[in-house]
Symmetry: C2
Amino acid sequence: MHFAAILPLQSGASIRDYSLHYETYGTLNAAKSNAVLICHALNASHHVAGVYAGQTRSEGWWDNMIGPGKPVDTNQFFVIGINNLGSCFGSTGPMHVNPDSGRVYGANFPVVTVEDWVNAQARLLDVLGIQTLAAVMGGSLGGMQALSWTLQYPERVAHAVVVASAPNLTAENIAFNEVARRAIVTDPDFHGGHFYEHGTVPKRGLRIARMIGHITYLSDDVMNEKFGRQLRAAVRRDDAGGGTAHEAANAGAYRYSTQDIEFQIESYLRHQADKFAEYFDANTYLLITRALDYFDPARTYGGDLSHALARASCKFLLVSFTTDWRFAPKRSREIVKALLDNRRDVSYAEIDAPHGHDAFLLDDPRYVNVVRSYFDGIAKAVGGNP
Amino acid sequence: MHFAAILPLQSGASIRDYSLHYETYGTLNAAKSNAVLICHALNASHHVAGVYAGQTRSEGWWDNMIGPGKPVDTNQFFVIGINNLGSCFGSTGPMHVNPDSGRVYGANFPVVTVEDWVNAQARLLDVLGIQTLAAVMGGSLGGMQALSWTLQYPERVAHAVVVASAPNLTAENIAFNEVARRAIVTDPDFHGGHFYEHGTVPKRGLRIARMIGHITYLSDDVMNEKFGRQLRAAVRRDDAGGGTAHEAANAGAYRYSTQDIEFQIESYLRHQADKFAEYFDANTYLLITRALDYFDPARTYGGDLSHALARASCKFLLVSFTTDWRFAPKRSREIVKALLDNRRDVSYAEIDAPHGHDAFLLDDPRYVNVVRSYFDGIAKAVGGNP
């Protein structure tokens, strides 16, 4: 969807002639009362559910949660996924041409915030004729957008589902983001953010950023369970069969190298890093991590989150995961407390899952059932799809 | 101290004609029974205590713990600090010339392990005529060396003090090391580890490595307390006084930049990173993080730590810190349990300190008093200095 009109941004800058990529699932009912907006996190997109015809491994990033008969049931709800402004999956971003200068934005793409994304999403819903959302839902940074919806457009949201999120980043969260940004910005191929013109990609920096990210998405326990201190499997020539066979390196087989892969965890991280550097935009990484850093609805209320959330009038479901050390349960509890201080209707599930922050994308049955029953309740109230 | 003889290394390689920088404090008694070896961690050195005459800010890295009248009292003990082989503070390392090739070692410096360091330390003690250590002591990686002493030379150690350490690294620990190494190795100025010949230093990589390290040394809580979400102080021209004054940026003053420093935590990390990149050797960083990765005394016992520690015969003091998430208390407890399984004499203090891993270098009075009283006991047994 193209937007010619200027969108004022929180920074004081603005953007015009931008497009937002979006997908919808299910059918909008006549009353336009069954819309659910799904907000995405750092490296996800508008493609939240389903597959693209003829494309293998094209499942949406929340396909386990959203679809016909799934917890967010697209037989009942009209689900909308929007790629955020500044991202790199179709919506206008740093790799596109700035209509004011006629040159690719690069590092000059305006800084966007969670609040800006919510405003842009609201404009898209305006065009679709959707005044009120049955629910807005997101995990991690997506949960911040869901929370911000309830503050920026309280009259347009009936329910907010905020998963594995936080009312702002801690110093440690910001620190990890900053290391990732420094890795990207100091990569000689970054060229001050104008690498497109140089035909380069700061892949070294993107790889480091992704490795850091991955470590913080997983719990210590699940990393030990999946990888532990296991050495990289050696590829052994099977002379009898003529093929190759993988053989776990045995206890005597340290390679004694500082640069070669020695442990499975190293192999995994390098692989994830290489994949990510092939498709993700470096300027987008900077923009999105900064949006995370900046989000802090209590800030203009002297740090008083209860005061900040007084504007919210919808009902809430919050979910956190015990082993999530990136956005720990205590951060979700801060939101729950602030909402209860305002006598809001809040459900809260703290799921004892081993997977760390990544749990919000996984299939823990208790988690999935909590979301399912919450949306079943919404469907009954909405009347669902005629 | 120079060593002409070949030192066989765990990897199967060896090194000859190497030197170890060391310092001693206090006086060795006639019985040579009051020697205490202090083992250093990643970025520390042989300079464990005292100051260099005429040099400001030249305090040894454990000067709060070691010295006349201090917990490790150099009026009682003869304390020895040795810079480990492969480090960059005077002992033979990657920046020195390989006598076999006549060229600077660079990335060809042999991989060294905790066990190799202990062997090298033992040879130095041989030359000093010290057969038995009253105690060996270290924190973090230094604690691993202390533990390894009790296994490699059980008959030469009376007491081992192992602080904020672990019986091996977890997958997450290895992962953080690997990201740091990748940042260094993929810095174009690294030149495959032979950057000395190119007149460059891979400072970008070293900076990233140091930032990651710093985050893992601090607890989330102490980071929030020290930095929180505080914005970088603006330097304000004080027209009245003609000087400058620092002014905390107020709540309205986001700069909205992806590359400039916005938060105090960013400023702190960049400053630490810049300092580190000026003095630390990149190849040493690789070697020392690998020594951490490889340490795993239970490995040759099928992962059975109790079996592995059966060789130890000395008495032990272990100390851990509740907020240390790099080497968490549960890792120290694994060592304690394995020693108790062998009916060894073990004291264990789990200190409720807020500072994270860095606590082992700080002045928590409970921690300092535990160490003091333990060494007081050793001094009584040894008879101290005549």
